[in-house]
């Protein structure tokens, strides 16, 4: 008979035994060794029926198709731009994916994106060798002007965005800051200096407490926010493989729908 060794939502470390016997199935972030299932990463365990899944608590961003990321121009080539993506891999944006404008051959590409510019872009393709292609065609995909950037643990990004963007929308409304959250853990903010400070500390609170219950209320209290949070009844923290698709801002949702058609 199979036996579960850990509880749902437990924090586990690599090599830790999660279950014994053949009744349970090793899901993402876990593996079978003999008749045991062990953890393969530092993470939270999610028990879904007989499947054991591990939600990572840390780790650098790994580029995925359809992710909207914030990246920095590091090179301008004949046919486009190379970007640093806050991951192990750089990404390419070709002229044809950058804009619907007509760009003449040999035009000065730096007048669109110059070295050092931060750009919101969507990943269109990732090869097995991790060549990453980007597009900046789509609503909300653009060069970021002014403002400042912070880095967060990319595993906490879904929590910072919240369901349907509820969390980040609340922070935006409460602080009057413009905020763009990249799936790759870069967050851009622009507002009044004191307001930016408030927004950053709210984001840091979410990052540090992403695993606790009632986080939305906690952040709401911190911000002194009185409006509707726009989030359905608070549910247990759950993480789906495709959670990045819940990327909240309306503008991105629409561009994603276009892509699916």
């Amino acid at each position: 008979m199979g036996k579960l060794i850990i509880q749902d939502k437990a924090v586990v470390v690599p090599g830790e035994t999660l279950a014994e016997g053949m009744d349970y199935l090793p899901g993402a972030g876990t593996y079978r060794l003999g008749d045991k299932i062990l953890a393969e990463k530092l993470g939270l365990i999610n028990i879904d029926g007989r499947a054991l899944k591990l939600i990572p608590l840390s780790g650098r961003y790994a580029p995925k198709r359809n992710d909207v990321i914030i990246c920095k121009v590091i090179d301008v080539t004949f046919g486009g731009w190379r970007f640093e993506t806050n991951s192990a891999y750089s990404a390419m944006l070709s002229v044809k994916d950058a804009t619907s404008d007509y760009i003449a051959r040999g035009a000065d590409l730096t007048s669109y994106f110059d070295i050092g510019d931060y750009v919101v872009a969507k990943i269109t393709n990732v090869t097995s060798q991790k060549l990453v292609d980007l597009t900046t065609k789509g609503v909300g995909l653009k060069r970021l002007r002014g403002g400042r950037m912070i880095k967060v643990n990319s595993q906490k990004v879904p929590r910072i965005i919240g369901k349907q963007g509820s969390m980040v929308t609340m922070i935006k409304k409460a602080t009057n800051c413009n905020i763009v959250v990249g799936q790759n853990g870069l967050i851009w903010l622009s507002g009044e200096p004191k307001d930016e400070v408030t927004a950053v500390s709210a984001i840091r609170m979410i990052e540090a407490n992403s695993h606790i219950k009632g986080l939305t209320d906690k952040i709401k209290d911190y911000l002194g926010f009185t409006g509707e949070v726009g989030e359905p009844e608070h549910k247990e923290y759950e993480h789906k493989e495709n959670e990045h698709k819940e990327y909240g801002h309306k503008e991105y949702e629409s561009s994603q729908n276009d892509d699916n058609n």
Partner: protein, 235 residues
């Protein structure tokens, strides 16, 4: 006669006092501090990240690169000259080999995971402390790992087998001493680091390695606690 009582009053299977923490280097993707007795190591992990020069890249997997270094004032005698020595390079190599069996970097072709180990003070067992810290730092960095790696030294002092030798025991003059640093993968019991200085019989070596296994669960629990601590504190 023989070595009836350890010079440090510990039991023969007793470890020195251990202190372990993670997340100690804010810039790093993962980090840890591991102190056993008066031997203390910091480890910081950066990556997976870009690897240059390009000829070092491996298109089928990410690579692990370890660097062991003693701070100039950390040694038991004179100042250690900064920079790499033959000793530090060899320890970097065996550290890498000790960690490699558990680390899975297939998802990161052409990339590198850098592990920097710095010893702030040493009183024997520094490579083992470094490996313990590095293994925790890798887990803290969210690297995919089959297990943590636990490392400790064991040895024979005169006629007795003891774990976690300190500097005084390594320098014991009343009889032959052997010092055997090992690393173990707890879930399989396999050894991923095995070195020895001194002399020992085949039978005693097997005994020593078996004694070592006794302390592995204790070390694993300490590493586990340090890793999960920051996520399990209630608020």
């Amino acid at each position: 006669m023989g070595y009836a009582k350890r010079t440090n009053n510990r039991g023969f299977d007793e470890l020195r006092k251990i202190e372990a923490k993670t997340g100690v280097i804010k810039n790093a993707d993962g980090s840890a501090y591991f102190k056993i007795g008066n031997t203390a190591a910091y480890a910081a992990v950066y990556g997976p990240r870009n690897l240059y020069p390009k000829f070092l890249q491996n298109p089928s997997t990410g690579i692990l690169r370890c660097s062991y270094n003693m701070m100039p004032f950390s040694g038991t005698g004179e100042r250690v000259r900064p920079g790499q020595s033959r000793r530090s390079r060899e320890i970097s190599l065996v550290t890498e080999k000790a960690l490699l069996p558990v680390v899975d970097l297939k998802e990161f072709p052409n990339a590198v995971v850098d592990v920097f180990i710095e010893l702030i003070e040493t009183d024997a067992g520094s490579r083992c402390a470094g490996i313990c810290a590095a293994s925790m730092a890798l887990a803290d960095a969210g690297i995919s790992m089959k297990d943590l790696v636990v490392a400790i030294s064991v040895g024979k002092v005169d006629d007795k087998i003891a774990v976690d030798l300190d500097y005084d025991e390594e320098a014991y003059e009343g009889g032959p001493v052997s010092d055997i640093p090992i690393a173990i993968i707890p879930s399989t019991g396999e050894f991923s680091l095995l070195q020895m200085d001194g002399e020992i019989s085949k039978e005693d070596l097997i005994k020593a390695l078996s004694l070592c296994k006794k302390v592995v669960p204790k070390l694993y629990e300490i590493q586990k606690k340090a890793l999960s601590e920051k996520y399990t504190k209630s608020d």
